[in-house]
Symmetry: D2
């Protein structure tokens, strides 16, 4: 028996018998399904599945290739990973440090099955902390004049190191559409409001001005449209007239930390599929 599970994320046009055919394929090759979950989007006629199984005797690389070929015969797109894989991640950060510490501490505690390769920041502030966590810290300053060059530097570092996921942990620069296109990999951002309310700058100030009784935070994939990408997770907390903007900011930090960590965890566990500017999360 293999020493690791395989996890496949499938999606494509819905058709009869998909659940049975996937299960049969795995069973016939000596595998055993550990978890299987699926979803049909009635509006779009799309079928989604996450299936995790213990493969039989075959070598896993070979089994992954075989499953990819099988998915093609179903007309499905597929991502497949070993349970032992640890996606390579870079964290972008500016001066706000709460999400940065939260991600690093969870990672060191074993809560995030990924490989945090390095930190990229437009400021030097968190270098000493990154050193303490034992993670390389690179400063790429960004000004209006240097933005394009800074993005090119980041891009080449990401590609050179085979990074598979970019996490913006309160990174205070907007990534250009050009950068995102050349990147071609998922980027998760944390926005400090319950989107779509209060998109854009200073959401806690906007929330305070509007007098809402609940604040929130939203983790989403980044698209070229600001704060508009597929939402992965959201959380909220009650507030009252007593809370100042500073109180909202403080309360919101707790939301931002847990929401971003949850989204990253789901992503690196291969639980998230984005489509039609929404997500399916097999939690």
């Amino acid at each position: 028996m293999s020493s690791t599970t395989l996890t496949a994320l499938l999606h494509g046009p819905d058709q009869k018998g998909l659940v049975a055919r996937t299960a049969a394929w795995i069973f016939e090759r000596g595998g055993n399904i550990i978890h299987a979950d699926q979803h049909r989007d009635e509006d779009y006629g799309v079928f989604f599945q996450r299936v995790e199984w213990m493969p039989g005797d075959a070598e896993t690389a070979q089994e992954m290739a075989a499953f990819r070929a099988f998915a093609t015969t179903l007309g499905m797109e597929v991502r497949i990973a070993r349970g032992s894989d640890r996606p390579r991640v870079v964290i972008f950060v500016s001066k706000q440090e709460h999400c940065f510490h939260d991600l690093l501490l969870r990672w060191k505690a074993g809560e995030l099955p990924c490989d945090i390769r390095c930190i990229i920041s437009n400021h030097n502030d968190l270098r000493r902390d990154a050193d303490h966590y034992g993670v390389p810290y690179y400063v790429i300053p960004v000004t209006a004049a240097t933005k394009s060059a800074a993005e090119a530097t980041a891009l080449s570092m990401i590609k050179a190191d085979g990074i598979e996921l970019v996490v913006l942990a309160r990174y205070m620069q907007v990534l250009s559409g050009d950068f995102l296109e050349q990147l071609g990999r998922p980027v998760i951002n944390i926005h400090h409001s319950f989107l779509p309310a209060f998109a854009g700058a200073k959401p806690y100030h906007q929330a305070h001005k509007r007098g809402v009784k609940i604040i929130g935070a939203t983790a989403h994939y980044v698209t070229p449209v600001l704060d508009d990408g597929p939402i992965i997770q959201q959380a909220v907390a009650p507030v009252s007239h007593r809370q100042s903007v500073d109180d909202l900011i403080r309360k919101g930090r707790d939301l931002e930390k847990t929401v971003l960590a949850q989204a990253v965890r789901w992503h690196v566990e291969n639980r998230v599929l984005a489509y039609a500017n929404k997500t399916v999360v097999f939690d």
Copy 2:
């Protein structure tokens, strides 16, 4: 001693010693403060207070008049009520019945210290239920052609009966600015989204399309700008990709019921002050 408490809601320009002067005024007249709560809005320099006390020997009408005069000397606006007062309320409803039943059942259970005088609806559907609850039910049909006349009819009924609060319990007609102006009394509406997200029509459809992971409901005072008035209370519930629009609607009903009932309860207990398109809620 009086047999009832008095509750005053004060607000006005902040100044030194307001808490002490109010407390002293009550104490010197033989009263005993039962609850007192206050708030300062630093942005606007406004002081807010809710104070509930057991007055001394004087007749309550006289004491209320004396407190009003006292508040004027402080430059404060004031609303004052007896604990035994039960504000006269009308509920507007269309065909959606969950908030209607919820309010009536809470009222009959003693949770809402008010006097629900009647139901006004643009449909006949809930007449039998209103009869069962023992509350008069008036149908005022509304079409584009008759809207103005319908509003005039409602207005004269409200004024004739001394109604002090209008509650829109999923009433599916937009009240005109003209109606609101002539009404001159508070109107509480329940909107089925976590405003300011998804204002306007079909918010659950909007939420489903956007792929949010949390839905909400908002109780607010009605102003001439649709879904933009001061927010009194909000609540939310988590949703996932599995929920259809119908599921959101069903889940949302529970939010709408509790949020509207809470807002009405706070209002009739004299706990809400609106200003600057926000509310102070002394809960």
Copy 3:
């Protein structure tokens, strides 16, 4: 094609290939799986599955029998139902009416796919309301002396009418172990605390005395041990020193309503499996 789905709830000793074999069985007979969810309890080595499918051309009664036979070959216990089935339910109630109204209103709104056959109460108080809802209302008074006879009366009514689920909607009598044994059908109770805290009488008084900052409600299957059966659902609400016992009772009513309704809904949708004094809820 059949006009209704089938839903099976399976459980039994875990073994390799169960997911695949069930899926294959359905597929080979021309059925199409709509939802499938499964769980393995590692402690007990038990496999659980809920599968909902649209069967092929065969008559559903025949298909259900065939699936039962198939489950036996897997060594699994099974419950199977048509999507169009509406389990027959009786609601037991005393004088507390909030859960009673809540269940009846949700049922009339189409939220609970069951057939509420009648209300049994030890008091006459809610007769007029039951009449309004159009549901038969039977009074079976209970005293220490008559308890045994009262239970026998209820038992014969339940059996005569083919009742499949008993719901205790704040019914203030403890059912005897003898009654439960002879009944042999599931009984869902709502307890007004977050069990296992505050089992037994007057849980809100216990909670107030202990000074907890959160209160709760618990829906569970009834076993001969008081307030100890498998928990189906729980919910909580924050409280503070300001809340009196009466406030806890009022706040708790909202929890009790939603928790009981959720548990009943899950049960009649065939989503709940009890084992080892716990539940698996395929929500």
Copy 4:
């Protein structure tokens, strides 16, 4: 004018006019009340007040002494502090590090207005982290044989440094009644269940075995009776049959962090009064 506010926490036998007399005392000496909140416990006839004010011209030490004398004339016990005071705190920790990091990071971010003087641990594991935070770290190993001596060592360190609050951040030793008595200062503990459910050891294992659908964490003052002291704050999170004990432990860490931090914050901001094994929290 003084450069700092004063905050008094009062409690004692309820009597007429207390709110007015406190307010008048402050006003007459040129002070201005910024926040005032009070509570009456009807069961015990006790009055509680938290009042925060900007004093007039007098020196604050003198004003504090005068207020203490005034409180005595009211028959009230009082604690009074300057807004600029930062209580001296020691954190006890073992090997579980999540609450330790959370408290230290919040403290460095300015969320906890106190002075964390040192860490005391029965293990050496977190020394490097304490060094990184710049906080002294003392190891006092504890075995059954050395427990009494270890407690004496801790006690003398606490007294020598004028520590005012002890925080047990998942410290895995039970403090003896003798230690608590000699300590004579508040000790806040975090228990990883929603007390009173699952007191004692391994609460997540207990919760998993009982099959609850909600887990919790509780911050409370320590008394000689294990896990029984006055509760300051609680929080909960939903769980399902899918969660293993390890999942509960991971989910629970987030609860423990926020609940303990909130309790410590309230305590050092002079918002908590304990009585009758309960707390009043003026939040």
